[in-house]
């Protein structure tokens, strides 16, 4: 046996590289104890060698271990790739009407799958698959812009309310209460209806405005919590200017919740935009391929002729919204400080 088993009370004869530690660790406690200790040391070394782990890297590491996050990320990743590389992936132009397809179009037949057109035709004789792929582009565009605009406005309102407090807070929060009191889709429909001429921008703005109160409330709440926190008091005690306290100390600490909410809002934005298109309040441009539009106009009108026209866009919307929801939920879990360590 190579391990020296020392008597309790006598100092353990260890080589000098082993730093003395307080407590019992210095004393040999039998073979099993030694092995356990060696294992602990090994674990400790492994932990130390990784060096600093930043907040972000920590969260990413936890995300990568979470299967839900991976599923969400894969869906979102594929969707984004499809949107970016749509012209390369799509077999045909999304706008062009093909003679092979139009010649077979009648009131109650729409050509199905054939060699060149794997998903067949849409009611105007365009390639359905290509339109689906280009639709990803449009959906991503609307979703991203609506979320970003909503995020920006919401953060602005929430930050002002949280930073100033008092009557500014009261006025801004009552305004958001008014917006929250209406069901979001109803509010979006109202906003679109108010626009004199609908375009894809009215859709984007309507969906963005609907998400503003949620962001504003969320940020304002965590800003108020931050205002009471010790590190903000400590910053005050250092004479840090009020502007910097808000911008450097309160805002960055409050943003995590809002950023996670943005991924979840993204899913809702896609659904809302699709719903608006479905209701005929969307983009009037018939050439623009958009899943909600495809589902609402073509899918609904020709459901008895070719239900696939409704199935595929619906499925695409569901899968993408699911992907963003899964990723958002997983991110919220990963960033949650209660799960740290």
């Amino acid at each position: 046996m190579s391990d020296p088993i020392t008597q309790a009370g006598t100092p353990a004869p260890r080589p000098g590289d082993d730093k003395p530690r307080p407590g019992m660790s210095e004393r040999s406690i039998g073979l099993l104890g030694d092995r356990k200790k060696a294992r602990l040391d090994e674990l400790a070394r492994a932990g130390v060698d990784q060096g600093g782990v930043s907040l972000v890297r920590d969260a990413v590491r936890r995300l990568r271990r979470n299967p839900v996050a991976i599923v969400g990320a894969v869906i979102v990743g594929l969707f984004v790739l499809m949107a970016i590389f749509a012209p390369l992936i799509a077999p045909h132009d999304a706008v062009q009407r093909f003679d092979e397809l139009t010649k077979n179009l009648t009131v109650d037949t729409i050509p199905g799958a054939s060699g060149d057109f794997p998903l067949g035709s849409d009611p105007l004789g365009r390639d359905f698959l290509s339109r689906m792929i280009y639709g990803a582009r449009q959906t991503l565009f609307v979703g991203v812009l609506a979320t970003l605009i909503g995020l920006a406005l919401g953060v602005l309102i929430g930050a002002i309310a949280g930073a100033f407090g008092g009557w500014v807070d009261v006025v801004l929060m009552r305004l958001t209460d008014v917006m929250l009191a209406l069901p979001s889709l109803l509010l979006a429909i109202t906003l679109v209806a108010m626009a004199s001429r609908s375009s894809q921008w009215t859709v984007i703005f309507a969906v963005a405005i609907v998400s503003v109160p949620i962001f504003a409330r969320l940020l304002r709440g965590s800003m108020l919590a931050q205002r009471e926190s010790d590190h903000v008091l400590a910053a005050r005690a250092l004479g840090v200017k009020e502007r910097n306290i808000v911008l450097r100390h309160m805002l960055p600490n409050s943003l995590t919740a809002v950023i996670v909410q943005a991924t979840l809002t993204f899913a809702v934005a896609i659904l809302d935009a699709a719903a608006l298109s479905f209701l005929g309040l969307g983009d009037p441009d018939i050439n623009r391929a958009e899943w909600g539009l495809m589902l609402g106009v073509d899918g609904q009108r020709y459901f008895e002729v070719r239900p696939e026209l409704a199935y595929y866009p619906a499925l695409a919307i569901i899968v993408v919204a699911l992907g963003f929801t899964l990723l958002g939920e997983a991110m919220r879990e990963a960033i949650d400080p209660k799960n740290r360590r």
């Binding site: 600093g52 907040l55 400590a234 005690a237 004479g239």
Partner: protein, 328 residues
């Protein structure tokens, strides 16, 4: 002229529809340049509120601060908020109890040290970071270059408190207020931090106001000790005087409740009976009277005055303890 002269400082918390509560009641004490002064007392005796009032950090609403806080002759309570902000961190700094929550969790340590240098010394970020590294080095943080880019949750509690001390002393303030700086740390680290504080205030000539409930901290650090009870100073003495001849029954009780190595086995630890909630208002009598072993009739007939003692301290008691407790 004293560096800090607190005169009749009172803080009354007043909420609509509630009885006003006097947290700090005409507290006066002075701090000479380079001196270490202790504010001692149990939870709720007004120690922290006193320090926040001096720093002007109490919430704007819901309280009334009166009296004078003269810092080199200027009344801090009368300063415009902007002027006060310029002094905080530059002339008066403060260290708080919990080093983890006092640091901003999403900003690297280096930037947090640099921030105060940028604010008060007009340094640019690069220069400030270089100085921050030296400051971290000075407070005994190993490998300071690496620590600059680390976040508070990545370093140990002792190191966080060291970083906070570095931040507080970055601009070489003339006064440092330490509000229970060692409470959140374990005992070995406490000793290290206290040694460090002592060494730094000695080196830089910074005066230190040490707020604590731990008499061991007082014994190791303070020149003068103010014992607070129920928002008032009940005893003030030089350190050796206080430990050798505690006169006020409260101080006496605190000292005799410190566990001793040479006391006989099985002896019960002395305790002050009752709790803070038994206090009577100072207007009625001595707030400590309900818990006091030495209570006399006069104690309930009005507040005893704070009177100078023969040994150069002050005492607020009708019937002080005469026996000696040799502690620590």
């Amino acid at each position: 002229m004293s560096l800090l002269d607190v005169r009749d400082l009172s803080v009354v918390f007043q909420r609509r529809g509630e009885q006003p509560f006097t947290a700090v009641d005409k507290v006066s004490f002075t701090v000479e340049p380079g001196q270490t002064v202790g504010l001692v007392g149990e939870s709720g005796c007004g120690k922290s509120v006193t320090s926040l009032a001096i720093m002007g950090l109490l919430p704007k609403r819901g309280n009334k601060v009166s009296g004078e806080v003269l810092f080199e002759g200027t009344d801090l309570l009368k300063l415009r908020p902007d002027d006060m902000r310029d002094r905080r961190g530059r002339e008066i700094s403060m260290i708080f109890q919990d080093p983890l929550s006092s640091l901003n969790p999403v900003i690297p340590i280096g930037v947090q040290v640099a921030e105060v240098l940028e604010r008060h010394q007009g340094r640019d970020r690069r220069q400030a970071l270089r100085e921050a590294r030296d400051l971290l080095d000075a407070v005994g943080i190993p490998d300071p270059q690496r620590r600059l880019s680390e976040y508070p949750h990545q370093i140990s509690g002792g190191m966080r408190q060291r970083a906070l001390i570095a931040i507080a002393l970055a601009c070489k303030p003339r006064l440092l207020i330490a509000d229970e700086p060692t409470t959140a740390l374990d005992v070995t680290i406490q000793a290290q931090i206290l040694t460090l504080l002592k060494q730094l205030v000695d080196d830089t000539g910074t005066a230190l106001v040490m707020i604590t409930h731990d008499l061991g901290v007082v014994a190791g650090l303070c020149d003068t000790v103010n014992v607070l009870y129920g928002g008032r100073v009940v005893e003030r003495a030089r350190r050796h005087e206080l430990f050798a001849h505690a006169r006020h029954p409260y101080t006496h009780g605190l000292l005799s409740s410190v566990p001793r190595l040479d006391s006989p086995r099985g002896e019960r630890l002395h305790a002050i009976r009752g709790s803070v909630s038994d206090n009577i208002p100072w207007a009625v009598g001595c707030a400590f009277a309900p818990r006091c072993d030495n209570v006399v009739d006069a104690c309930l007939e009005g507040p005893p005055p704070l009177e100078p003692t023969a040994t150069g301290g002050d005492l607020r008691c009708n019937n002080p303890v005469s026996e000696e407790v040799a502690v620590l």
